[in-house]
Symmetry: C2
Subunit: 152 residues, 2 copies
């Protein structure tokens, strides 16, 4: 179980669920579709099988992935992102964007249709415009939303 930060902040609360080592890299792999345990183990070089297993159990408990068995004897599991887990694609995308700009400059995030680089940005549906990061703030609301919304 990850340590808590004890901060009433959506960034801190998110990191309590996804800030563990490996978690977002597993999400990255699963964004491409369902993966078997051994496929994840092969992709995440250097992770011990028991650590990967623990991490996936924690992700299942946090409702980021679902597990299904594709073989009963021997038992073999595969994993799929939930809507909640798939919504982490924006966090993975933001890390990929930053990484291609500042650390791993041999790659780009591109629009598959035209091959050109994409940028991340905020959009205000009310104003119908793009919004600079400096014009975005965090507001408390009286009535929390009931359910999760799809991000894409």
């Amino acid at each position: 179980m990850p340590k808590r930060y004890g901060q009433a902040c959506p960034v801190a609360k998110s990191l309590e669920l996804v800030g563990d080592r490996w978690t977002l890299l597993i999400v990255r792999d699963l964004l491409a579709g369902t993966r078997r345990f051994q496929d994840l183990a092969a992709s995440q070089k250097g992770i011990a099988p028991n650590i990967l297993s623990d991490r996936l159990k924690l992700m299942e408990r946090h409702r980021l992935v679902t597990r299904a068995f594709y073989s009963e004897h021997p038992p073999r599991a595969q994993y799929t992102l939930t809507d909640r887990g798939r919504d982490l694609g924006w966090v993975v995308g933001a890390l990929a964007t930053w990484g291609t700009r500042h650390v791993f400059k041999r790659a780009r995030l591109v629009h598959e249709d035209c091959g050109h680089e994409v940028t991340l940005g905020y959009h205000c549906r009310e104003c119908g415009t793009r919004v600079r990061g400096a014009s975005v703030g965090l507001r408390r609301v009286a009535r929390p939303r009931a359910g999760a919304r799809r991000a894409r």
Copy 2:
């Protein structure tokens, strides 16, 4: 020093620099402007001063923050994000967006001008359109970019 993942991937490379506990929460605080060491310590409840000090030294080594002294006797430091560090605002924003949707539903990321909620999205400058996450891919490039670009 954080452990390396050994993966040729911008997400993994980014997490090697910013995946440590507390780092992104310190970035969150510094996005609002320069902060003194004791302000950061007060905001990050539960962090031991030596851990905060170590983390800030590592962030300085990774060129995410710069340090300046506002008092010589006794020595007292304050910290400011570099452009490279400020560009992590997108990662913090993506975590905040996910957090307000799925974990901490008492807050929203809003457009300061109109007070309405903003969404994160990809934009293709070439096509002049918003791009769905499913239409974004990672491409290797022959010639890495020379310098960092400002994100906002």
